[in-house]
Symmetry: C2
Subunit: 344 residues, 2 copies
Amino acid sequence: MTQEVRMVKRVTLTDVARLAGLSPSAASMILNGRPDTRLSRDAHDRVLAAAAELGYRPNVAARALRTSTSHTIGFVSDLVATTRFASGLIKGALGAAEAAGHVVLVAETGGEPEREAEAVSALLDRQVDGVIFASMRAREILVPPIPSSVRAVMLNATSETHVCSVLPDEETGGQRAIELLRDAGIHDDILLLGYDADAERDLFRSATVAARVRGIYDTMAREGMSFSREESIWLWEPDHGHDVTARVLASGPPPRAIVCLNDRLAFGASQALGEAGLRVPDDVALVSFDNDELAAYLRPGLTTIGLPHEAMGRRAVELLLAPDGPPPGEHLVEMPVVIRASLP
Amino acid sequence: MTQEVRMVKRVTLTDVARLAGLSPSAASMILNGRPDTRLSRDAHDRVLAAAAELGYRPNVAARALRTSTSHTIGFVSDLVATTRFASGLIKGALGAAEAAGHVVLVAETGGEPEREAEAVSALLDRQVDGVIFASMRAREILVPPIPSSVRAVMLNATSETHVCSVLPDEETGGQRAIELLRDAGIHDDILLLGYDADAERDLFRSATVAARVRGIYDTMAREGMSFSREESIWLWEPDHGHDVTARVLASGPPPRAIVCLNDRLAFGASQALGEAGLRVPDDVALVSFDNDELAAYLRPGLTTIGLPHEAMGRRAVELLLAPDGPPPGEHLVEMPVVIRASLP
DNA sequence: CTGTTAGCGCCTTCAT
DNA sequence: ATGAAGGCGCTAACAG
C-alpha cells in the first residue's frame, strides 16, 4: 500500500494532469467520464493511472462552487433521540447514500419552525443536492420554502408543498395482523386496544394510524370476524396498556386475543396478563404493531407488524437521487410481519 | 417578512457590497468581524443593513475553497441503528454543533475498516473542520490516519493515535449504585449479576465495564458490604438475566437485592422474580446500569445509573471546537443516578 | 482608512 | 483530439 497520509498538501487535479502529461481539463473530462468528448485510449489510461498513483480525490468544495452540487444530501428530522425509530430511518438513509457516493448532513429541529428554517438554510448554504424531511410520527408537516432547484422528499410524513413522500403501508399492515389471528383460528372474542377516534384527529398523532385501523376493520369484516370489546387509549404507553388491560380482566372473563395498536401497549398488556396469572399465547394471544425493540425482549416474544424504518430511509434517498428527480406520489413501504411466540 | 424565496439566484457578497456602495472585500471584512482593519462605523452599518435586507448567506463551498474550513464536523460511528445509545450521542453532538453554528455529517461504518477509511475520506473531501469517532460500546478503536491539521476526538472510545476522548465516568457510576444500596439499608445478601472476567478481556465488550466493576467492588469494600453471590453472564440480554436469576431463585432463598450490570439483565431478572412470586422492591431490590428505555417501562420502574450519552455527544463537539483544539486526555462525563421504584 | 487584485480547485466553453 | 481561458464566491494580501 502506498496509501500514506499527505499532510503537506492535497493532491489536485493539476497534479494528476501534470503526471499524465495532459492539461487539467483533459484530466477532468476523463475522470468524470464525459462520454461525448473522446480522448485517446492512451490518455485515458495515463490519467487513471496517475490519479490512482497519487491517490487523487476531487475537492468537493471546489466542485460544489463550480457545479453547485456537492454529493451531499440533507436529512432534517423533528426528533432524533426521543424515538428509536429515528435511527432506523437515518441508518437506511445513510446506507443508500453511501451506496450512491453521497454523504448525509443530519439536522434536528425538535419540530420548531425557526430551528427548521435555520437548519434548511444551513444545508442550502452547503449546496446539498436534496433534502429529506423526516418526521418521527407520520404526519403532515410544514416545510420551509426551498428553491425549486433543490430536490425534496418527505419521509414518514406528507406535505402540501412537496409531493414525494415515503410512508409505511399501514393498511396492508393492519390486514396482516388480522390474517395472523385468522390463521391461528381465532375469529372472535378479541379485544382491540388503543384505537381512539378523537386522538386520531390530533395532528401530533401519526396520520397513518387511520390506515392501520382501516386495514384492521376491513379485514375483520371481510373475514367475518369481530371484536368483542374495544378500549380506546389516548397515550400509547406501557402504563396505560397495563391499566386498561387489568381493568378489562377484572371485569369478566379474559378475551381470547388482544390486538394492540403498538408494542408499548402490548408490553403493558402482557404485564397485566402475567399478574392475572394468564399465559401468552395459550390463554390469551397477542398481536401488535411497530416491532419495537421491546417486542423481542418480552417473554414470550411478541408477534408484531413492524414499521420498516430502515427500508423507508433507504427508499427516501433512492427516490431523492432518482435520475429525473423524486417521482411524485405516496410511496408505500411494506410492513414486515415479525413472527414470534405470542400467537398460537 | 420580506423572507421570500429567491430561486433565481442566491444573493452573493458582491450584491451586498454593491448595495452598500462598497467593495466585496470591505463587505467581507465587516461581515466576518475582522477587528484589526477598522472600517468606518457608517460602512459597517451600511453593509449589515444591506446583508439583512437581501437576506445574504455566505456560500459555504466558496468559503471552504478559500479558507479550507467548512463549519461542518464529521461524526463517524460504527453503528447507528443497532443500539439506541447511538442516537443519544448523535443528538448531543447535533445540539452542540448547532449552538456553535456548525452542521454535522454523519457516517456509519459498521466497524469495517474499509468503510471507515472511505467515510473519513469522504468527510475530508468536504473539508470538515474536525471529526468525531464514536463507538457504541466504549472501547479502543483504530482510526484511519488523518492529516494532523484535522481535529479529532474519540467519543465513547479511546485510540492510541488520537488522545482526546470522552467517556462515561463508570467508576463513580459503580460507586453510586452501591451507595444507593447502602442508603436503602441493604448491606449484605446481595447478588451481582453479569460480571464476567473473561468477557471483560473481549475487545468487543465495552472497555469501561472494568471501571464500572472496580467502582462497585471498591465501594462495597469501603462500606463493609459484600456480595453473597456473583453470577457471571457473557451476553447481557434479557433472556440470560431471566434464566440465571431463575436458577438462583430455585437453588435457595432469594437475595435481598440484585445488582445487574445492565438494564437488559435487570429486565430479565425482574421477570424471573415475578414468576417466582417475589415482589420488587419489598422482597428483592434491584439496581442496574444504563437507563435504557426499558428501565422506565418496567413495573415498578427500575432505579439505574444512566449512561449520559447526550451529554457525552455534546461534550465531544465542545472539545472538538475548543479554541486551541481538543485538549488531550480522557474526559469523563458523570453518570446520572435515575431513581425509580426498584429500591426501597 | 478604503479598494483592488489575485487565486483557492474545479469544470465548461471555446479555439485550436 | 486536445489545450487555454474564464469564472463559480469568497477572502487575504496588497496598493492607494
